[in-house]
């Protein structure tokens, strides 16, 4: 259930928003929405059981509005995007540099935020050493410490949100799969949840179980990728190879189930496109073997002191800051702030399944984030085993519930490996009138600004890998 409420003015919207955040709700997004010639500011608030949308119209022709960022710091990047896309100025915003649109290349001189003897700025990217997605880090440093870091993600801005407009729902599914390619299943789930909410469609139980299997396999692959990158950063050649091998095994299992290594084509509005090509008992065998192999290597990694020394205390995100920002996914969980959409706002088959014990971590450093990921891998195996054991006999199965295109607006959500993904979808005459995706990568990446307390240049790859985010999802 998604509630949309309209406030009389921007100030009233901010007051309501601040009051709700004080009550324990989480700020989840802020966007500018053109409607009937006017511009609406549309904020998303996550609460237990739902994601609400609060809106207020800007006076027509307004060139600016009082910025939210001074009151709610988590709006920092959201308001820069609003400025990039509409030109409307959030007045009082601390730093309105371009974020997702390149702006004027003349302005791209290296910024200097810290002054002092011997300080210089290292531009790192957008073409980086190794196989990485394109983004630029501007590292201000006197040589070792990193007193200030800036990020430029506009290199990869593809205009995903704009591309949705006018698409059919079926085409929208394909685009959602490619918004953040390493979290295809989660993005498609969030999109389809919104479409299903508009159509008031309840998906068949067996389809919901298949969705859980694919969403959790995606989570395992992503977390193994992070473990691999961390081991690589520490120069542990064997550990890197082991986790790369496990990740490849997961991707091959996914392709054996559906034909795509990223679970594309599985999730459709109303259910799933096909059942797994392997029998549940067969998949359970594969999963059991995989779990034993991954667990043994994870245990060894967490007992390798030369590796742990690099992670312990590295890139700490303070629990207070995680709560204040509403940090999503493993980054929030490692800093004692856990708002998991699968538990707080359960969807698909998650209400039927036991989430198992979730260990709490509050150290907030790269090690805590890795511990959370290994916990989540164990939990993912637990979910998959339950979903497959519960799977009904092959006869008399329903793939999809009818999901006729209806008009309306809804917010859909899903817990990606990176954290909660939100899709605000408006359908009109069977087509997408507007679709605003919000990835966990976008919401969390801004936190990398503030985790370099005392860390030095050689800690950089550890901190970046421990965040485990996707630039494609952040820049959209």
């Amino acid at each position: 259930m998604t509630i949309t409420s309209t406030e009389p003015s921007v100030i009233a919207l901010w007051d309501t928003l601040a009051a709700r955040i004080d009550r324990g709700d989480r700020f989840a997004g802020l966007f500018a929405v053109p409607r009937n010639g006017a511009v609406m500011l549309s904020a998303q608030v996550a609460t237990s059981g739902s994601v609400d949308t609060l809106e207020a119209a800007l006076p027509s022709g307004a060139a600016g509005y009082p910025a939210l960022t001074p009151r709610v710091g988590a709006a920092f990047w959201y308001e820069r995007v609003i400025h990039d896309e509409t030109g409307i100025v959030p007045e009082g915003h601390p730093r309105l540099a371009p974020l997702i649109r390149p702006g004027n290349p003349e302005d791209h001189a290296l910024p200097r935020h810290v002054a002092g003897y011997g300080l210089f700025t290292i531009p790192h990217g957008p073409v980086r050493s190794g196989v990485f997605e394109s983004m630029e880090y501007l590292v201000e440093t006197p040589g070792e410490a990193i007193p200030h870091l800036n990020m430029r993600i506009f290199y990869k801005h593809r205009g995903i949100a704009a591309r949705f407009t006018g698409m059919t729902v079926a085409d929208g599914v394909l685009l959602a799969e490619r918004a953040e390619g390493i979290a295809s299943v989660a993005h498609t789930l969030a999109f389809c949840h919104a479409v299903e909410a508009i159509a008031d469609c309840e998906i068949p139980r067996e389809a919901a179980l298949v969705r859980v299997v694919h969403a959790e396999l995606e989570r395992i692959a992503n977390h193994l990728d992070v473990a691999m990158r961390l081991a690589d950063a520490a120069g542990l050649a064997v550990a890197t190879a082991r986790f790369a091998l496990h990740k490849e095994r997961v991707l091959r299992l996914v392709s054996a189930l559906c034909g795509s290594r990223f679970g594309r084509g599985v999730v459709v509005p109303g259910g799933v496109s096909a059942f797994p090509r392997k029998r549940p008992a067969e998949i359970l065998g594969d999963i059991g073997k995989l779990e034993r192999q991954v667990t043994a290597d994870a245990d060894t990694l967490m007992a390798t002191s030369s590796f742990l020394d690099r992670l312990r205390g590295t890139g700490p995100l303070l629990p207070g800051r995680a709560r204040e920002h509403g940090a999503l996914g493993p980054i929030g969980k490692a800093s004692g702030y856990a708002d998991d959409a699968r538990v707080a706002r359960p969807y698909d088959a998650y209400p039927l399944l036991d989430a198992g014990p979730v260990a709490q971590h509050s150290a907030g450093d790269a090690m805590a984030r890795l511990r959370v990921r290994f916990d989540e891998i164990a939990q993912a195996f637990h979910f998959i085993k339950q979903a497959l054991s519960d799977f009904p006999e092959r006869t008399r199965l329903t793939l999809q519930a009818p999901c006729p295109p209806a008009d309306g607006r809804a917010v859909g959500w899903a817990e990606a490996p990176q954290g909660e993904v939100l899709y605000d979808v408006t359908l009109d005459e069977g087509r997408i009138a507007r679709c605003q995706p919000r990835s966990a990568s976008f919401h969390n990446l801004v936190l990398m600004h503030e985790v370099f307390a005392g860390d030095i240049l050689t800690d950089f790859p550890f901190i970046e890998a421990s965040f485990g985010l996707s630039v494609a999802g952040a820049a959209l």
């Binding site: 990869k156 079926a170 390493i182 082991r242 390798t304």
Partner: protein, 253 residues
Amino acid sequence: VNLWVLRGLRDGVVTTRWPRRADEYADSWRGPVTVTAGANAPDAAALCPTGAITAADGWVRLDQGKCVLCGRCVAQRPDVFAWSAGATGPGAAALARQALVVPQAPETDEAVEAARAALAERTAALRRSVHVRHVDAGSDGSEEWEIQALLGPVYDIQRLGVFFTASPRHADVLLVTGAGTAGMAGPLRTTYEGMPDPRVVIAAGADAASGGLLGEQLTGVAGTVPVDVWVPGSPPSPFGILNALLIATGKLR
């Protein structure tokens, strides 16, 4: 560290023997869609979300450079369209953009042969080891995973004398992914210009070839760098990328 020695020995050799031996996973790969019959299906074009299908003069053609593997056409018209099988082989990497259009027009053969001869002449010096510079020009992130996989123990690209390098100055091959965003046009061009001759450019994936689903606003990377080898797929499989790297450098024909 001793523990890791034992862990590393656990699974024996996991590396594929391809290209010296066939690989089951590569051969069973579900590739881009092909046209099996030149059937008269004038309405087939409407099936495709990226406009890869054209029907003119009674001929149905499909541009694999635009195919995002959604399978809608195969599901609706199995009499006309089918999945291609296998991630490797000469058909899995195209030496000319028009060679991705199936069935191929008669004049395509000549263009491909000309491109092959020109590429072979240019890359004659690259037969032993080659260095690759990867640039993401606006991918969805999955292509990077598939390229990263090549460095892992299963594909182990170093065994074939292919190495990834940080500096374009050391690179022989430019491996480009992504739909060609405005922001990456400059850095991509600069990277290409920083490479010494002879240099080869591979466009990996439908996004790099045509923009894929974003084709209305982004049209791939060919407008920024001269592409020599095209790999279909959304994303292409690791075997598909490996195959293209070997074809581009004359290690495989």
